[in-house]
C-alpha cells in the first residue's frame, strides 16, 4: 500500500475512509468536511509534496444507491508518485464541497466544469459559473445520469429558446459593470451578484 495512505491515517484518523489499490493506482476516500485540510497537508508536508493537481472530476454511477464521487488526481513531481483522492456525496443531499482553488489556481476551471456538468457547488470558489454550457442554460446538469442523452427539452423547444435568447445576457458577472443586461440574467445569477461576488450591480434594481 502507498505510504501516503498510512501517513494520512496517522494524521487525520477517522477522516480517512476506505483506501484501495486499483491497477497500480492508490485511491483514498476522504471525509468531505475535512477536504481542504487534507489537501493542504498533502500539498505542503515534506515527504508528501503532492504539489501538482492533475485533474478534478466527478463520477455518478448507474446504480442510484451509490454515492456521487468527486475525484482529485494529485501528483508529486519530485517523487513521481500519484494519489487519487475521492469524496463521496449523497446525491439526494446537498452537493456542496469546499473549493481547492486557494491551493491550486488550476482548479478554477476544473471545478467550474464539474459544477457545470454535475451541479456540485464548490464553496469558496472565486467565480463559480457555468463554463461549457451558457450561463442561462436551463436544462440541468448534462453529465448526471438522470439527464437524457438528447437533453431535457425537445429540439423544437431548444431552437425556440435559442432564438428568443438575449445574447447580452450571456455576459459574465465580471463584465456586467460594463454590459447592461442585468435584468435578463437568471435569478440565481442575480442573487450571486447581490451577495457581492464580483462586479457592480446596476442601480436600477
Amino acid at each position: 500500500m502507498n505510504p501516503s495512505v498510512d501517513a494520512l491515517r496517522a494524521t487525520f484518523g477517522s477522516a480517512i475512509g476506505r483506501a484501495q489499490e486499483v491497477r497500480g493506482d492508490t485511491i483514498v476516500t476522504v471525509e468531505p468536511s475535512r477536504l481542504l485540510e487534507v489537501m493542504r497537508w498533502l500539498r505542503d508536508t515534506p515527504g508528501e509534496r503532492h504539489e501538482y493537481l492533475v485533474d478534478v472530476t466527478a463520477v455518478e454511477y448507474r446504480d442510484r444507491e451509490r454515492p456521487l464521487e468527486v475525484v482529485y488526481f494529485l501528483r508529486s513531481l519530485e517523487r513521481r508518485a500519484d494519489l487519487r483522492v475521492k469524496l463521496e456525496l449523497d446525491p439526494r443531499g446537498e452537493l456542496t464541497v469546499d473549493s481547492v482553488t486557494p491551493l491550486w489556481a488550476g482548479a478554477n476551471w476544473l471545478e467550474r466544469e464539474v459544477y457545470d456538468m454535475f451541479g456540485i457547488v464548490f464553496a469558496g470558489h472565486p467565480d463559480l459559473r457555468r463554463i461549457l454550457m451558457w450561463e442561462t442554460y436551463a436544462e440541468g446538469y448534462p453529465l448526471r445520469k438522470d439527464f437524457p442523452l438528447r437533453g431535457r427539452f425537445s429540439r423544437a423547444e431548444q431552437v425556440r429558446q435559442a432564438l428568443n435568447a438575449n445574447p447580452e445576457a450571456h455576459y459574465s458577472i465580471e463584465e456586467l459593470s460594463i454590459a447592461e443586461a442585468y435584468d435578463e440574467l437568471p435569478a440565481e445569477m442575480r442573487e450571486r451578484l447581490r451577495r457581492g461576488q464580483r462586479g457592480n450591480i446596476p442601480e436600477s434594481e
Binding site: R23, D63, F73, A105, G106, L110, I131, L132, E175, I178
Partner: protein, 429 residues
C-alpha cells in the same frame, strides 16, 4: 491642437508656396481660430470582444478584453462554443465505438488521442499489447506531435506576421497527412487504434515513405530555425511575454511544452514511461524564462526529438501480429466470420454486445503534443463505461491566459494566446 497636415493645393498661385516655389504643407485646422480640446480618456476602460469568430483566437474562443488604452487590464475567456458532449456520448458507446470520438477532440493530433484512449481501456481490461503494435503506436504518437507542432508553428508565425514559415510548416504537415492517409485511409479522422491492437497494419511503402520524411524533415526545421530564432521581429514580439515561473506553472496545472518552457522538466514519456519510451534515446527540452519565445524553442526542439524517435522506431519495427490473440477482443477477419461458425459468434457478440470491462477504474496519462492527455474510465462491469473523462491539456493550459496576458499590450495578447497552443475541439469537447 491637432497636428495633422495634408497636402493642399491652392487655386491662386503664390499663396501657400515656399520660397522655392513648391507648394507647402498647410495645417489642416488652418481656418479655425481655436480647435476644440480633445477629451481626456484617461481612466476610462474599453471593453472589446475578441472572437468567437476571429482568426487569431485559433477556433471559436471568445476573449472579452478590458483595455486601458492599449494595455490589457483583464481577460475573460469564454469557452464552450464547440461543446459536443463527447464524455456523455461515451457513456452510451462500447469502448471501440469511443475511438472515433477521440479523433474529434484534439483534431490536430488524432492518432495520439486514439492511442491514449486505447491505452486507458487496455489498462482497465488488463491487456498487454504486442511488440509490433507498441512500436507502431509510438510512430503514431510522434507523427502526431510533429503535425501538431507544425500547425502551431505555422499559425503562430502568421499571427505574428511571418508568412513563409507557415507555408513550410504546412508542407511538412501535408507529407505526414499523406502517410496517415496511406495507413488509415483518412487524413484527419484516423481512428487508428482498437482496444488490444490497431485498426490496420501499415501498408507496403509506408516505412519507406516515413523514412524519406525522417531524412528530409530536419532540413525544413533548420530553415524555420534560421528564419525565426534570431529574427529581430520574432524575438521582439515573443521574448519576455506571458512569463510564468515554474511555481506558477505547477500551480496552474500546466502540462506539456507550457510546463517545460517554465523550467519544469516533466515529460510523461520520461517520468511515466509508457509504450517502452524508456528504451528510446531522446532529450526533453526545458526552457528557463517561461515566456512565449521559450515555448517556441521547446516546441521546435521537440520536433527534432520526435524525428529522432521516429528514426529509432523505424529501425526496430519488429514483425509479428498487431493485435492481441484474443477472439473476445479482436474482430475475426471478415472472410472467417462469413465461413466459420465460431468466428461468426465472436463477431456477433463483439458487434452487438461489445467487450465487457471488469468493475473498476483506470487513468492513463500520455504526453500529447499539447500536454498531458488523460483518459479516465470508470466501469461497472458492462460493455459501456460509467464515466469517460478526458483530461484536456489545452483546456487546462488555456485557464492560465488571464494570468499571462494581464498587463501586456493587446497585440501581445495574440502572441500569448497563440503560445498556449489550444485546439477548441479539445477545450470544449
Amino acid at each position: 491642437m491637432s497636428k495633422r497636415t495634408i497636402d493642399f493645393e491652392l487655386a491662386t498661385s503664390g499663396a501657400g508656396l515656399d520660397p522655392r516655389g513648391a507648394s507647402s504643407r498647410i495645417p489642416l485646422t488652418a481656418g479655425a481660430d481655436v480647435a476644440p480640446e480633445e477629451p481626456d480618456f484617461g481612466g476610462e476602460h474599453l471593453l472589446i470582444n475578441l472572437g468567437p469568430q476571429h482568426p487569431a483566437t485559433h477556433g471559436v474562443l471568445r476573449l472579452v478584453v478590458e483595455l486601458d488604452g492599449e494595455t490589457v487590464v483583464r481577460v475573460i475567456p469564454h469557452v464552450g462554443y464547440l461543446h459536443s458532449g463527447f464524455e456523455k456520448l461515451g457513456e452510451y458507446r462500447h469502448y471501440n465505438q469511443i475511438i472515433p470520438l477521440t479523433d474529434r477532440t484534439d483534431y490536430l493530433s488524432p492518432m495520439a488521442n486514439n492511442v491514449g484512449m486505447a491505452m486507458a481501456a487496455e489498462k482497465l481490461m488488463g491487456i498487454a499489447i504486442t511488440p509490433r503494435c507498441t512500436v507502431l503506436r509510438v510512430i503514431a504518437c510522434e507523427m502526431s506531435r510533429i503535425i501538431s507542432h507544425m500547425v502551431w508553428l505555422g499559425t503562430t508565425s502568421i499571427d505574428l506576421g511571418a508568412f513563409t514559415p507557415f507555408l513550410w510548416a504546412f508542407q511538412e504537415r501535408e507529407r505526414i497527412y499523406n502517410l496517415q492517409e496511406m495507413w488509415t485511409g483518412a487524413r484527419l479522422t484516423t481512428s487508428v487504434t482498437r482496444v488490444g491492437g490497431l485498426m490496420a497494419d501499415v501498408p507496403d511503402g509506408f516505412v519507406e515513405g516515413l523514412r524519406h520524411f525522417v531524412d528530409t524533415y530536419p532540413n525544413t526545421l533548420n530553415e524555420i530555425d534560421r528564419v525565426l530564432t534570431r529574427n529581430a521581429v520574432w524575438v521582439g514580439r515573443t521574448q519576455g511575454l506571458g512569463v510564468l515561473t515554474a511555481d506558477e506553472a505547477i500551480n496552474y496545472s500546466l502540462s506539456g511544452p507550457m510546463l517545460r518552457a517554465s523550467g519544469v522538466p516533466w515529460d510523461m514519456r520520461k517520468d511515466r514511461p509508457y509504450l517502452d519510451y524508456e528504451t528510446y534515446e531522446f532529450e526533453v527540452p526545458v526552457g528557463s524564462h517561461g515566456d512565449v519565445y521559450d515555448r517556441y524553442l521547446v516546441r521546435l526542439e521537440e520536433c527534432h526529438q520526435s524525428n529522432r524517435i521516429l528514426r529509432q522506431a523505424l529501425d526496430r519495427l519488429p514483425d509479428g501480429p498487431i493485435n492481441v490473440d484474443d477472439p473476445r477482443l479482436i474482430l475475426p477477419p471478415k472472410s472467417r466470420a462469413m465461413s466459420d461458425m465460431e468466428a461468426m459468434i465472436f463477431h456477433f457478440k463483439q458487434v452487438m454486445e461489445g467487450v465487457k470491462a471488469p468493475v473498476g477504474e483506470a487513468y492513463v496519462g500520455i504526453e500529447n503534443p499539447k500536454g498531458e492527455l488523460g483518459n479516465y474510465f470508470v466501469s461497472d462491469g458492462t460493455a459501456k463505461p460509467v464515466r469517460w473523462r478526458i483530461r484536456p491539456p489545452s483546456f487546462i493550459n488555456l485557464a492560465a491566459i488571464s494570468k499571462m496576458a494581464e498587463g501586456h499590450l493587446l497585440s501581445d495578447l495574440i502572441a500569448i494566446n497563440a503560445s498556449v497552443d489550444i485546439v477548441m475541439g479539445e477545450v470544449d469537447r
